[in-house]
C-alpha cells in the first residue's frame, strides 16, 4: 500500500468510495493523506471492508457532492 495525498487518491479513484488506513488529518479532520486499502463504487463494500478491520480509518467519496437529486 502506497501512501498518497488525498488529491492523488481522488485522481486515482475518481467518483468512488475509498477506505483509507493511517489517515493524516488536519485539525478539522480533513484527510490530507493515507493508504487506500479498499475502493469501490458501492459504499456498502467499503463498510464491509471496514468491518473486517480494527483501528483508525477514514471513509471518503472522491466525487463532488452534487447531483440532480435535492436533499431536504
Amino acid at each position: 500500500m502506497k501512501e498518497m495525498t488525498f488529491e492523488e487518491i481522488k485522481k486515482k479513484y475518481p467518483n468512488e468510495w475509498v477506505l483509507i488506513a493511517d489517515p493524516i488529518e488536519d485539525e478539522m479532520l480533513e484527510v490530507k493523506s493515507g493508504k487506500v486499502i479498499a475502493h469501490s463504487a458501492k459504499r456498502d463494500m467499503i463498510y464491509s471492508a471496514l468491518k473486517e478491520r480494527r483501528g483508525n480509518f477514514a471513509i471518503r467519496y472522491t466525487g463532488k457532492i452534487k447531483g440532480k437529486t435535492f436533499v431536504l
Partner: protein, 132 residues
C-alpha cells in the same frame, strides 16, 4: 477561539468531517452540516463495523420530510468534530442514499455546542465553541 471552515460552493451540501469512535476502532466520515436535524444520524454500516449492535438498539420515531419513520437509536462512545469530542452521544442509525456521497448528518445535538455563522458571501462557516 473560533474555527473557520471553507465550504465548496459547487457542492449541493455543506459537510464536515467527524471521527466516530466505537468498540472496535474509529472512522473519520463525512457528515452533512444539518441545522434542520435535531439529532445526529450515522449510517448503519459504519456503526456495525465499529462494533455497535444495532439489532438490540431501541427504536424511536423520527419525522422526515414526508412521513414518520421508526429507526434505531443508540449511544456512541464519542464523536469528534470541529476540535471537540462529545462522549456518549445519542445518534440514530439510518443510511442516507449512497448518491449523497455522505455517511450521515451532524445534527443539533452536536452543533448546539457551537455558536454558528454561515456566510454564503464568502463560503465560510464560523464555529465558536460554547463551553458549558
Amino acid at each position: 477561539m473560533r474555527f473557520l471552515i471553507t465550504f465548496d460552493p459547487d457542492e449541493d451540501l455543506i459537510h464536515l468531517s467527524a471521527r466516530i469512535i466505537g468498540p472496535f476502532g474509529s472512522a473519520n466520515a463525512r457528515l452533512a452540516f444539518d441545522t434542520g436535524a435535531t439529532i445526529t444520524m450515522i449510517g448503519k454500516g459504519i456503526l456495525e463495523a465499529l462494533g455497535y449492535d444495532i439489532k438490540t438498539a431501541d427504536e424511536i420515531s423520527i419525522i422526515t420530510g414526508s412521513r414518520i419513520e421508526t429507526v434505531k437509536e443508540l449511544i456512541v462512545l464519542e464523536i469528534h468534530a470541529i476540535d471537540r469530542a462529545v462522549k456518549n452521544m445519542t445518534v440514530i442509525c439510518h443510511d442516507l442514499p449512497e448518491e449523497s456521497g455522505l455517511d450521515g448528518l451532524l445534527g443539533l445535538n452536536f452543533l448546539r455546542h457551537f455558536d454558528t455563522e454561515i456566510n454564503y458571501s464568502n463560503n465560510t462557516l464560523i464555529l465558536k465553541p460554547i463551553f458549558l
